[in-house]
């Protein structure tokens, strides 16, 4: 290993290790312990020897023929050669290594360790490209600034100035180093996408054409970071200038991303983080092409600012004027209301989902799943998950439809779409279970529970308009719901469904400083923000049912299903019917209505 790799590798590994800890995924940090130990061992073995022996200077050999630079390189050729040298320096820079470390953290955390938890749609995953680009971009700004100010810092400016290459050619060479972060980030995107495709089967949905500009924006942003670093270095040598710039860009980008309505935010197209939508239904309205043009114009404009330090001729001014014109046009058009036709189409998707959906029906249960047509894979995935639950319900239970729909309110829609809505945003219909777009393991468990609850006639707070959550402590129907929801799972998965992994570990509990009370130990809903709370004794009873022979429990459940659906039937009555020992008196669960998750 080359000694030059040590700084950049150290930066990558340190960032990855501490980044994993900071972002709450210590598991990802552990991955880097081995490489860190290996690097430290290498450094220890190859540490610098004490005083180097002076290399001798023997008498010069007879001079060969005078070297001839037959034709001096053109500025373009010199810029290319210098660009390669500077690219090498950038790639080995410790600052750039920190940016690489952030990419490693992202990759290991989301594409490896928590790959199974990814259940979003592809449009949302692609929309993360600009977000993922920001840490690398920030460090690249610093690295590029240091490259641009290196001659002044190291005292080589006078020597370089005495050479025939003009300073503007050196600036062009520095701008060319943008190829390094662009290549790195593109490679990251490819590797990340492949890893998600192979390792995150729950990611679903189409990848429409309008999502591609957001994907492309990531490489454009990191190229712009080089341009900004070089421009800053050309005009402002102050060492903290790039840090100030990074903070300023981050501040304004976040402010722009959070401006506007709580849901729909037209000005987010001007944020480097990119236009945002809370629901994939409206993602098609995002001005993604204008956003890509906007960040491209920003990058081009900054590059022109760098060149203006040393060259102010017509082509440079024209390029600058073009960047400004394109940027202004992209800003105006990107923040303009969406086109009428597209807005109407989205309004119809929101208001009349049934007209735009396809349904798959269970072969052995009164159950069907309906999603927007492009979400066939989600439809099949949800049906496969809830079908065993539906089959375990008695035939007397009335048919159910799991229907995908827009989960937000009017503030999540552009004003033009709001005006085009000819009806209210539909609520969950009678006999329906409304879902949105999530298809990960936790979401599927939630769908199983909701089918089980619906089969038992238990209406959740969201169905009744009440504040959640509600307590079903000590009620047999809660235990039966867990048993039903676990149908089709192996025993380990089933027991997991009825187990609170980390009681007292919720955010609310941390804030309150309490913990491990009956409320915390009764939170079995997969995402900790569920609408119902069991008691710890109910969960123990549910686990006992899961361990019992399935046929025996199924027979008891089906035979007295009306009784088990009754909220006055106690958990111990069910256990007695099955010949299982009593779970004991249920603890009283005091409901926390304020932000329990």
């Amino acid at each position: 290993m080359s000694r030059r790799l040590v700084p950049v590798l150290s930066a990558v590994l340190a960032t990855a290790f501490f980044g994993g800890l900071a972002f709450g995924s210590p598991a990802s940090s552990l991955v880097f312990v081995g490489p860190i130990v290996a690097l430290l061992a290498w450094v220890a073995v190859h540490r610098r020897r004490p005083a180097r022996e002076e290399a001798g200077w023997a008498a010069p050999a007879p001079a060969p023929a005078r070297p001839v630079l037959a034709v001096p390189g053109t500025p373009r050729q010199v810029a290319a050669a210098l660009g390669r040298a500077e690219s090498h320096e950038l790639a080995f820079s410790a600052w750039f290594g920190v940016g690489l470390g952030f990419l490693v953290v992202i990759f290991v955390t989301f594409a490896v360790i928590y790959a199974d938890d990814n259940g979003q749609v592809w449009v949302e995953m692609v929309g993360m490209s600009p977000w993922f680009a920001h840490p690398l971009a920030g460090m690249t700004i610093v690295a590029a600034h240091r490259a641009a100010t290196r001659p002044a810092r190291d005292g080589t400016g006078e020597l370089f100035e005495s050479c025939p290459t003009e300073p503007v050619v050196r600036t062009l060479a520095l701008l060319r180093t943008a190829a390094v972060p662009v290549g790195v980030f593109t490679a990251f995107l490819v590797a990340y996408s492949v890893a998600l495709y192979l390792g995150s089967p729950a990611i679903h949905g189409p990848l429409p054409f309008h999502a591609l500009p957001v994907l492309a924006a990531g490489p454009v942003l990191v190229a712009g970071a080089v341009f900004l670093g070089v421009a800053l270095g050309s005009w402002v040598r102050f060492a903290l200038a790039p840090v100030v710039a990074v903070v300023a860009v981050g501040f304004f980008a976040l402010r722009l991303a959070a401006a506007g309505d709580p849901g729909w935010n037209g000005s987010s197209a001007l944020s480097t983080f990119g236009p945002q939508a809370d629901s994939p239904v409206v993602a098609g309205l995002l001005p993604t092409w204008w956003y890509l043009l906007w960040v491209t114009a920003l990058g081009l404009g900054v590059a022109v600012v760098a060149l203006l330090r040393f060259r102010r001729d017509r082509p440079v001014w024209l390029t600058g004027a073009t960047a400004v014109a394109v940027g202004v046009a992209a800003a105006l058009l990107g923040t303009a209301p969406p086109g009428g036709g597209e807005a109407q189409r989205v309004a119809d998707l929101v208001a009349y989902p049934t007209e735009h959906q396809a349904c798959d029906r269970s072969a052995g249960a009164p159950l069907r799943v309906c999603t927007y047509r492009p979400y066939r894979d989600l439809r099949q995935r949800v049906l496969a998950a809830v079908d065993p639950v539906g089959r375990a319900l008695p035939s007397t239970v009335r048919p159910m439809t799991i229907r995908q729909g827009f989960g937000g309110d009017e503030t999540d829609l552009p004003s033009r779409v709001r005006r085009l809505l000819r009806t209210e945003i539909p609520e969950q219909g009678e006999g329906e279970i409304k879902i949105e777009y999530a298809g990960d393991g936790a979401a599927l468990q939630e769908y199983r529970l909701r089918v089980a609850f619906a089969g038992l006639g238990l209406r959740l707070p969201a169905d009744t308009g009440d504040e959640g959550p509600m307590s079903i402590a000590g009620q047999a129907r809660g235990v039966v719901a867990l048993w039903l929801a676990a149908r089709g799972l192996d025993l380990e998965e089933a027991l997991h469904l009825a187990t609170v992994e980390n009681p007292g570990d919720s955010d609310e509990n941390l804030v309150r400083g309490g913990g491990n009370d009956a409320f915390e130990r009764g939170l079995a809903w997969p995402n900790m923000c569920g609408p119902v709370v069991w008691s710890p004794q109910d969960l123990e009873a549910a686990r006992a049912l899961m361990r019992a022979p399935e046929a025996k429990v199924a027979a008891v459940v089906e035979r007295n299903f009306v009784r088990w659906s009754d909220p006055t039937t106690a958990t111990d009555e069910l256990l007695g019917e099955l010949g299982l020992p009593s779970a004991g008196a249920s603890e009283t669960v005091v409901i926390r209505t304020e932000a329990h998750c």
Binding site: R52, P67, T165
Partner: protein
């Protein structure tokens, strides 16, 4: 002299605030090694920086091989012929020696990789750094860094070499190697060499210019500078207060420069004697004026 084969300056002036660095310097530097002597602050580095096109004079003109560096075209033409070693050359310590010289070679418009790398290896071998060329500059000793600076100045065998104190920090053997290097590599080139080492001037230079307080006090052959002290250098057992300068030489005798007393044991003057006589007299005049 044909001006297209050398460098001439006419009435060169340059101030730094209230300090006059160059005060109407006229000089001609012919092909061969031209020495530049003078005490600190005499204006040597300022003159060399102007000739290296990194500093603009306040007045006067420069003619380098028929080119005027005050124009963009002239400056480019001079820079294409130039090899420059600044007085305090900086280095990118994280670069290897090879990478640094390669970088300078690119700046000297060697865009093609293969011939450039060949040239980089050649100049590094000239200064004996080929064995450490892939070491980071931060790991090199001060002497090796100085040789690295010399190496980059020889890229492409420039026809104008401007070397500001190139032997500072070199040991006697390395100074000898440097002299050999100039003899082989700079043949036919116009070399401007600023130094405090008068023996370097005596050994290397065809001509020498002595600068004092921004003005030329001597321009000519080194022998002529030595000859200025003809009949004014003598040895004695004890220090003579009438001498302008006196010091104990290696043989234990006191070497004097100045007007000798009757019967003094006169010796052959050196370039250093001539230079010290010139510079010492100025110093005495400065003291008298004060």
């Amino acid at each position: 002299m044909n001006v297209t084969t050398g460098v001439s300056v006419y009435g060169l002036r340059r101030r730094f605030g209230a300090t006059v660095a160059l005060d109407g310097v006229d000089a001609t530097f012919v092909p061969g090694v031209n020495g530049l002597l003078g005490p600190n602050g005499a204006g040597k580095t300022t003159l060399l920086r102007i000739l290296a096109t990194v500093l603009r004079p306040d007045g006067g003109t420069v003619d380098a091989f028929g080119h005027d560096p005050s124009t963009a075209e002239g400056r480019l033409a001079v820079r294409r012929r130039l090899g420059y070693l600044p007085q305090e050359p900086g280095f990118h310590r994280q670069f290897t020696a090879f990478e640094f010289v390669d970088y300078v070679a690119i700046l000297k418009e060697w865009a093609d990789r293969k011939p450039r790398h060949d040239e980089v290896r050649r100049v590094l071998s000239l200064v004996g750094l080929e064995a450490v060329m892939h070491k980071r500059i931060g790991q090199l000793s001060g002497g090796m860094r100085r040789r690295l600076g010399i190496a980059q100045a020889f890229i492409g065998r420039p026809t104008l070499l401007v070397l500001d104190e190139p032997t500072a920090g070199l040991d006697p053997e390395q100074r000898l190697r440097f002299r050999e290097l100039l003899g082989t590599e700079a043949a036919g080139s116009t070399v401007l060499l600023s130094t405090h080492q008068t023996d370097d001037v005596a050994a290397l230079c065809q001509s020498v210019v002595v600068l004092l307080e921004g003005s030329v006090r001597y321009a000519g052959a080194p022998g002529g500078l030595a000859a200025m002290a003809d009949g004014r250098v003598w040895l004695a057992a004890d220090r003579d207060e009438r001498a302008q300068l006196a010091w104990i030489a290696g043989d234990g005798q006191v070497r004097h420069i100045g007007d000798p007393p009757r019967g003094a044991h006169l010796v052959e003057p050196t370039v250093e004697d001539g230079y010290l006589l010139l510079a010492g007299r100025t110093a005495i005049e400065q003291a008298g004026a004060a």
